[in-house]
């Protein structure tokens, strides 16, 4: 009983407080909308109607949540040792490119052989994209936030080039995309919706994250670094190795998100496979205080907002940016409430 009381004091209450702060953000956006002569209540109704009003809406929430969970993990894993990885967007595209290469050159292989290969390529592509900023940080002390941000632009431009150049669909009259992937390169969709096997990837990744963090020696060492780097060094924990490992692990998961997007949703590589999943994923991780379980919850929340954003566009003519404002405000509110983002969960 006393145990329960103590728990309630600390960690269990955090989600409740977070919810309260989220409500605050909604109020602020409501005021903003009023200033522009729009009806905030109608907007909120539209958002939730979009997400919960139909099976399609609900399924879309899941579809959006998948890349969000993976990209959030891309931020959360390095964040556990204090690194800020904003490169989810670039790492996602890098994974997408790697998987695309595999799908285009090895598309003749049977499914059972091809798909695992594409998964591996997605992971490798994302990890490679994260390796560069990681090495720069480890060897030269270059701040990883700036380097990952810059690299995002570079990688996205690379995709633009690649779909108009070497990988362009020869039968497409000038549309910027690659040829469609063969059947064996596609991830199946479930239940007549767009929900795809990426859902299992995401859930397994999050579960692994949780497991490694709590029940392995590496997760333990990561948590020590995050809590007190000096004590970690004095205990012989190799800081440099973990800088590289966490960044690459995070990048790999974002790359996996990219692979899932091109293999399940798009079936080809084109610009715009991501509607800011990398950046929104970064947000998700912060709102979840970098905690694996919180990531699932926050990814769903932002998935709801994302679907709702489409809905307000359709039914109220409000720009999609409305939900971006909500998301950004929630971020501010969480930052401002002095939560020490969990480095030990």
């Amino acid at each position: 009983m006393a145990r329960l009381a103590r728990l309630a004091d600390s960690r269990l209450l955090i989600p409740v407080r977070l919810l309260g702060l989220t409500a605050l953000a909604f109020v602020a956006v409501g005021v903003f909308l009023l200033l522009f002569g729009k009806n905030p209540l109608a907007a909120y109704r539209a958002i939730f109607a979009g997400a919960f009003g139909s099976t399609y809406g609900l399924s879309e929430v899941v579809v959006r949540a998948i890349p969000l969970m993976l990209c959030a993990a891309a931020t959360a894993i390095p964040a556990r040792i204090g690194l800020l990885n904003v490169g989810g967007e670039g790492q996602l595209h890098a994974g997408a490119m790697a998987a695309t290469w595999g799908a285009l050159t090895l598309g003749f292989l049977p499914r059972a052989a091809l798909l695992p290969g594409l998964v591996a390529l997605g992971l490798l592509g994302g990890a490679a994209a994260a390796l560069v900023p990681a090495v720069l940080r480890w060897a030269a002390g270059v701040n990883e936030t700036i380097s990952t941000l810059l690299l995002n632009y570079v990688i996205v431009l690379l995709v633009e080039y690649v779909v108009r150049g070497p990988w362009k669909d020869p039968m497409s009259y000038n549309w910027p995309f690659t040829p469609e992937f063969s059947d064996s390169a596609r991830l199946g969709l479930y239940w007549g919706t767009r929900i795809h096997a990426g859902l299992w990837f995401a859930l397994v990744a999050i579960a692994l994250f949780y497991f490694v963090l709590r029940r392995t020696r590496w997760g333990y060492e990561v948590r020590v670094i995050g809590d007190n780097p000096e004590a970690a060094v004095r205990a012989g924990i190799p800081l440099g190795r973990y800088i590289l490992l966490t960044m690459c692990a995070g990048g790999a998961l974002a790359g996996l998100a990219g692979m899932a997007e091109v293999c399940a949703i798009q079936s080809r590589l084109r610009p715009g496979i991501s509607t800011g999943f990398g950046y929104t994923g970064f947000l998700v991780s912060w709102l979840a205080l970098h905690h694996p379980l919180g990531i699932v919850a926050m990814a769903v929340l932002l998935g709801v907002l994302s679907v709702g954003g489409d809905q307000v566009q359709i039914s109220l003519g409000l720009p999609y940016a409305t939900v971006n404002i909500i998301m950004a405000l929630i971020f501010f509110v969480v930052l401002g409430s002095r939560f020490r983002a969990a480095r030990t969960a």
């Binding site: 903003f32 522009f36 040792i81 204090g82 690194l83 800020l84 904003v86 720069l136 030269a140 002390g141 270059v142 701040n143 936030t145 700036i146 380097s147 941000l149 810059l150 690299l151 632009y153 570079v154 431009l157 690379l158 633009e160 080039y161 108009r164 150049g165 670094i225 780097p229 800081l239 950046y279 970064f282 947000l283 912060w286 409000l318 720009p319 999609y320 940016a321 409305t322 971006n324 404002i325 998301m327 950004a328 405000l329 971020f331 501010f332 930052l335 401002g336 002095r338 983002a341």
Partner: protein
């Protein structure tokens, strides 16, 4: 071609220079503002809307400056008073500004405005090569390149600059000397925001003469990186800005000449150049960085 690249470089470098100068001021006081990207956007948006409504580019510039300042005030509050993580807060500001400007600017996307006209300096603009290169730009361009030495003077030769730099080096010592460190940091960040707003104004009112969602396109982040290359020095920032402007201008030139190089590779050059620069200057960075920033950039918090 060199001349037109240089001329284009000076023009294209102007918004970057404003943003970089603003960020130099903020970082010299010990605050890193990644929200500069957002401040540029609100400046561009507010400036464009005001000009479109009032037909006066001058009012547009003023509105842009104000918008940039207000946006950065939020970041100052989060960092100085609430003591939130500087980098996270800056990114949050960037997201917020992106969202707000996309929302507010939507009706203005295809609108044409009374742009800021080039203002030739009488007499000087008739000089053979130099005339076109240096003296036939618009008012904002002149402003930026005059502002740099002015900021340099203030930073290193006045007591306000001394106070600002003291706060950015060792806050404890500045505080012990009786300086109101919080006020200094607020002022520096807002100043930086004002300049970023003006950068946005140049972008939408003079350079591109239009409003497009997200039009700053990473210039804010380049500015933050440029501050590092310029070793937090206003005059070196000029050099950096012109070089980057030249890269942007070069892209247009190369495209115009039909060179068979993908425009996307050209577009990558500013960002790649910045990355290489950061790597090359990593060691110098450590020596010249204001002490107060070490924790922000290199700390594993």
């Amino acid at each position: 071609m060199l001349a037109s690249v240089l001329e284009g470089g000076i023009r294209a470098g102007t918004p970057i220079l404003y943003a970089t100068l603003g960020e130099v001021i903020a970082e010299r006081a010990g605050v890193v503002n990644l929200g500069v990207e957002g401040a540029i956007l609100v400046g561009a948006c507010a400036g464009f809307i005001t000009t479109a409504q009032t037909q006066s580019p001058l009012l547009g510039i003023a509105a842009a400056a104000l918008a940039g300042g207000v946006a950065s005030l939020v970041h100052a509050f989060m960092v100085v008073t609430v003591r939130a993580n500087q980098i996270a807060s800056g990114l949050a500001l960037m997201f917020l500004c992106l969202g707000v400007t996309s929302f507010v600017g939507r009706p203005y996307v295809a609108v044409k405005i009374n742009a800021v006209a080039p203002l030739a300096v009488p007499g000087l603009s008739d000089l053979p090569v130099v005339g076109r290169l240096l003296f036939s730009h618009d008012v904002l361009v002149y402003g930026a390149y005059l502002l740099a030495p002015l900021i340099w003077l203030i930073l290193f030769y006045t007591k306000w600059g001394l106070a600002l730099r003291a706060v950015g080096e060792r806050q404890a010592v500045a505080f012990a000397s009786g300086l109101p460190t919080a006020v200094v940091q607020y002022a520096a960040v807002v100043c930086g925001g004002v300049l970023a707003g003006v950068a946005g104004a140049h972008l939408s009112l003079a350079y591109a003469r239009s409003w497009v969602e997200g039009m700053s396109n990473g210039r804010g982040f380049i500015a933050v990186a440029l501050v590092i290359f310029a070793t937090w020095h206003p005059l070196r920032a000029v050099l950096g800005a012109v070089i980057f402007g030249a890269v942007f201008a070069l892209q247009l030139q190369i495209q115009a000449r039909g060179v068979a190089l993908s425009p996307y590779f050209l577009d990558m050059t500013p960002y790649l150049l910045t990355l290489f620069g950061l790597l090359l200057l990593a060691r110098t960075q450590r020596h010249t960085m204001p002490e107060g920033l070490k924790e922000v950039f290199e700390g594993l918090k």
